[in-house]
C-alpha cells in the first residue's frame, strides 16, 4: 500500500485539505499518545497555523514537496521557540533561538510540524527507555520497547500520528526503532543531510534521516532533507535522486552480499525473515554473494571507543551556566558539577565518564587512537566487500522488540542490539531498514547497507520489495 504517494496525490489535487488531514492526525495523536508516549512537546497551534497557510499555498499551486504532510521532529533538533529537551532534565526548559537546517527545509516545503518526539536521553540508548520523560511504547505492542534512540519517531509513524518523522542515527538510532515499529527508516550516507541544529552525540557518525511508513515517504523526505549546508561543513556538494529513481530497481545484475556472521546471535524468527527476503531478491534475479566480513560483534568495542570521547566532548557544554538545568552551588565548580549531576541520567553519565577516561592523555594511545585505527581497518574490509557486491543484507536488530525493563539494567546486553547497525555509521555508508517479516504482531526489520551514496538504490530496493514481495509471517 503506497501510503505516502497516494496521500500526496490526494492533497495535491485538492481532494484532501492539509488542515483536514492535520485534524485526522491530531485525533490519532489524542487517541494513542497517552499510551505510547511518543511526543515530548505537541505543537498543535503551530501545526494548525502552518496547515492553514499550506491550504492556501496548495490551492495556489505552491505545495512544495510535502503539500501539508504532517511531520514529527525528534527532540534533538532545534525549532526556534519550541522546547528542545533531548529527553533530558538538563534541557527540560531549553528553548532554542534558531531552527535546524533539516527542520527549516521541511517547513520550506510545506511540511506541517505536529511536535517534538520522544527519544533516549541525548540519543543514548537502543530502547527509548532512557528518556527523562519516560519510555515510548511500541506501536504494535505497548508492553514492549519502541527501540531507540528515535523511539518517538518510530512509534509515531507506525501509529499514524504523523506521516513522516525526522530522526537521527549515530549507531542505529533511526533503523532500530523503525525496525521495532515495522516502518521504513533510512540512515543516509554521512554528509548527505545537514546536522546543523541537531544536538551532537558523536559528530563524525551522526546523520539526520527520515522514518516513514514506506519507501516513497523516505524518498520524498530525502529529496528535501539532503544537500550541502554552509553551516555544516561536513555536508557534501552532491545531490542524489530519490523519488525520480524509486521505481528503477532492477534485481537483475544486483549482487547482494551475505554472510553467516550477520546472523550470529539472531533470534529464530529474525533469521527466518532475513532468509526469506534474501530468497525473494534471489528469485527475482539478484545474485547472492558470500562476502568475507569481520565478526560483527567485534565492531562494538570500536564503535563505543570512537563514540564515547566525541560524546564526552559534545556534552562538555552543558554546565548550567548559559542555559540548561542549573543547580545551586557556592563555587563555580560546585555549580557545574551539581548541575551536571542532577541534569543527566545514568546512561548519559556512564558514557561521559567512559569518554572522558578514554580521551585522557595518558590513555589516548591505549584506546582512542587504537579505535581510530580499527575503524580504518574496518572501513577497508567493508570497502573490499563493496567491490564485490551492491548491497549487504542483514537483520537490522538481531532480536525482536523486548519487554520494557528487560534490558535497561544490563548495558552489555542492551548494546548487543546495535551490532548490525553500527558498521554503517563507522563507515559513513547508507543503510535502510524495512519490515521483512512479522512474528505475530511484532515486526522484524531487514537492513540493506550499500556503499557511500548508494542511498537511492537502497530505497528503491525497499520499494521493489513493497510492490513485489510479501513480508515473512510466522
Amino acid at each position: 500500500m503506497p501510503m505516502i504517494e497516494e496521500l500526496v496525490g490526494r492533497m495535491r489535487n485538492g481532494e484532501l485539505l492539509p488542515s483536514e488531514h492535520l485534524e485526522e492526525k491530531i485525533s490519532v495523536l489524542e487517541e494513542r499518545d497517552h499510551e505510547l508516549n511518543a511526543f515530548i512537546t505537541k505543537t498543535l497551534e503551530l501545526a494548525r497555523e502552518q496547515a492553514k497557510r499550506v491550504d492556501r499555498l496548495v490551492r495556489d499551486g505552491k505545495g512544495g514537496k510535502f503539500y501539508g504532510l504532517v511531520w514529527g521532529i525528534k527532540d534533538n533538533f532545534a525549532l526556534k521557540g519550541v522546547p528542545m529537551t533531548c529527553a533530558s532534565k538538563m534541557l527540560e526548559n531549553y528553548v532554542p533561538p534558531y531552527t535546524a537546517t533539516a527542520v527549516e527545509r521541511i517547513i520550506d516545503n510545506n511540511g506541517v510540524i505536529l511536535g517534538k518526539l520522544n527519544m533516549d536521553e541525548f540519543a543514548c540508548g537502543s530502547s527509548g527507555e532512557t528518556s527523562y520523560f519516560g519510555p515510548t511504547r511500541n506501536a504494535h505492542d505497548p508492553e514492549r520497547v519502541a527501540g531507540g534512540s528515535s523511539s518517538g519517531a518510530g512509534a509515531a509513524v507506525a501509529a499514524g500520528m504523523v506521516d513522516l518523522a525526522l530522526a537521527s542515527d549515530t549507531g542505529g538510532s533511526i533503523r532500530n526503532p523503525a525496525s521495532f515499529n515495522g516502518v521504513v527508516g533510512l540512515k543516509p550516507s554521512y554528509g548527505m543531510v545537514s546536522r546543523y541544529g541537531l544536538a551532537d552525540l558523536a559528530m563524525s557518525l551522526d546523520v539526520p534521516g527520515p522514518i516513514a511508513p514506506d519507501a516513497y515517504g523516505v524518498a520524498l523526505a530525502m529529496d528535501v532533507l539532503q544537500g550541502y549546508d554552509p553551516r555544516d561543513r561536513t555536508t557534501v556538494r552532491r545531490r542524489l535522486e530519490f523519488v525520480a529513481t524509486i521505481d528503477a530497481f532492477n534485481p537483475d545484475g544486483i549482487k547482494i552480499g551475505f554472510s553467516d556472521v550477520l546472523l550470529a546471535g539472531a533470534d529464530g524468527p529474525v533469521r527466518r525473515a532475513v532468509i526469506h527476503t534474501l530468497k525473494f531478491f534471489e528469485k527475482k534475479g539478484a545474485e547472492v554473494v558470500d562476502v568475507d566480513l569481520p565478526d560483527v560483534r567485534k565492531v562494538l568495542p570500536v564503535y563505543y571507543l570512537v563514540v564515547y570521547p566525541e560524546f564526552a566532548s559534545a556534552m562538555q557544554k552543558y554546565d548550567g551556566i548559559l542555559y540548561g538545568h542549573r543547580a545551586g552551588g557556592s563555587t563555580l565548580q560546585e555549580l557545574v558539577s551539581r548541575s551536571r549531576g542532577e541534569g543527566f541520567g545514568k546512561e548519559v553519565k556512564r558514557r561521559i565518564i567512559l569518554g572522558t577516561y578514554v580521551s585522557l592523555a595518558e590513555n589516548a594511545g591505549k584506546w582512542y587512537t587504537l579505535a581510530l585505527k580499527a575503524r580504518k581497518a574496518l572501513q577497508e574490509m567493508f570497502n573490499r566487500a563493496f567491490q564485490q557486491v551492491d548491497v549487504i543484507l542483514s537483520p537490522t536488530v538481531p532480536n525482536l522488540p523486548f519487554p520494557i525493563g528487560e534490558r535497561i539494567d544490563d548495558p552489555v546486553k542492551m548494546y548487543m542490539s546495535d551490532v548490525l547497525t553500527v558498521p554503517a555509521n563507522l563507515l559513513g555508508v547508507p543503510a535502510v531498514t524495512f519490515p521483512g517479516g512479522w512474528e505475530g504482531r511484532l515486526p522484524i526489520g531487514v537492513q540493506l547497507m550499500g556503499p557511500r551514496y548508494s542511498d537511492p538504490l537502497l530505497v528503491s530496493a525497499v520499494r521493489f520489495f513493497e510492490k513485489e514481495g510479501r513480508p515473512w509471517c510466522a
Partner: protein
Amino acid sequence: MVRIGFEIHVQLGTESKLFCPCSTRFLDAEPNTNVCPVCTAQPGSKPDGINEDAVEKALKVALALGCDVVEKPLRFLRKHYFYPDLPNNYQRTSEPLAVNGELAGVRIREIHIEEDPGRYELREGLVDYNRSGVPLIEIVTEPDLRSVEDARDFLRHLRAVLDYLDVLLYPQIGFRVDANISIEGGERVEVKNINSIQSVVKALKYEIVRHKRVLSTGGRVARETRHWDEARGITVSLREKESVDDYRYIVDPDIPPYRIDAESVERIRSALPELPHQKKERFVREYGIDGSAAWTFALDKELATFFEKLVAKHGVKNALSFCLNLRGELNYRNIYFADVQGKDRFYKLADLYFTGRITKPVYIEYLRKTLDDPDFVPGAQEQLSDEAIREIALEVLKANPKAVEDYRAGEKKALNFLVGQMVSKTKGRADPKKAIRILQEVLRAS
C-alpha cells in the same frame, strides 16, 4: 643565566569571527549583541567553515616571521576545560600552521590559530560573549631571550611587525602575553595573561627578583603557572603542578581539515609590505640618518610614515629633529603615533615652525598641546609690529631704571637682564633677535 620565552596571543582584525558571521568588534557593541547560536554554543549549532581571512592574516604573520608553512591540511583540535567564558567548555585551536621562524635572533617555534573565549567578570558573575570566537593567533617563541631589556625590545619589534602587516583587531589592545622564565638552578615558571609590554617588563623583573630570593635562601623554584596581578604589581601562583592539566585533545569532527595551497602562500609572501628592519635600513641608506633614530621611527609605523612625508617637505634635518622631539613626547606618554587623533595638525605645526612663523619654545609647547588636546589646532601667533616692540622696550626701560643706570655705568650684565625682560614680554610674538636689536636702539636713543 636568565631564559625568557613567550606565547603571544594576537586578536586578528577580521570582519567576522573564526567560525560564525558575527562581528569581531567586541568593544564597540553592547554586551552579548555580537552573538549567534555558534559562538554561544547552543545545542546543535556547528562551526561554519574556518574564516579564510583569519588564515590569510595568520599566514601573513607567519611569513613575515620567516616561518615554514606546514604542508599537511590544517586540523582543529578541541581543548577541553571548564570555564564560564568558554561556552562549549572547549576551545577550538589549530595544529601549528607554521613553524621554525625567527625574529631578531629569537626563534619562533610555531604559530597556530585559535578562538578567543568570551569575557567573564568574576566579581559580578557576568559573561559577555561578544569576544567569544574572535580569531586569535598564538605565536610561540623558544626561550631565547636573555634579559628583560631584550625581551622588551623583542616584543616592541614584534608589535611593529604586526602593525606593518595591519593584522591587529584593536591596535590599542595590542596583544596578550604568557611569559615563561627560568633562571639558572630553577624550574621554568609561566606567567599568564599579561596585557601590555610595560606589564611584561614589570612581571619579568618581579619574577627574576623572586627566583633569586628563593634560590639564595636555599629554596626551590617549582615549575608552576602564575598570574600577573596588574593592580598589585605582583605575580601569584595559580596552580602547583602544570602537569595536572589534561585537556583531552581530540580532533574536532565538525571542522574538515583546511588545505593551505602553495599558490596562496606565494601570493601572500610576494605581497608582504616593507617590514620594520627593512624600513630602518632604507632610512639609513636613503636619508643618511643614524641607525638608532631610524630604528626608533621604524618601530612606530605611523611615525615612520610621518617622517618620510616631512622629509619631502622640509628636508631630512628638519624632519629628523621634529620626529625625534615627537618620539620623545610619545614615549613619555607611552603611546604610538597611531593613537593620536588628527595627524594633519602635526604637519601644520611643522610648517609653522620650519617657516619661522613660531619660535622654538612655542613649537615645543604646541607639540605637547597638539598631543594632549585633540581639539587644539596650532596656528601662527600674531607677530608684533616693530612699533609695538619699541613700545615694549620703552616699558621695560621705564620699569627697570636701576638696570638702565647700571648699563650706562658700563655694567654688561645689566643688558642681559634687560634682554631677558624683553624676551619674556614678547615671547612667541616676536623674533628674539629682532627684539634685542630694537631694545638696543631704544637704549642708545634715550
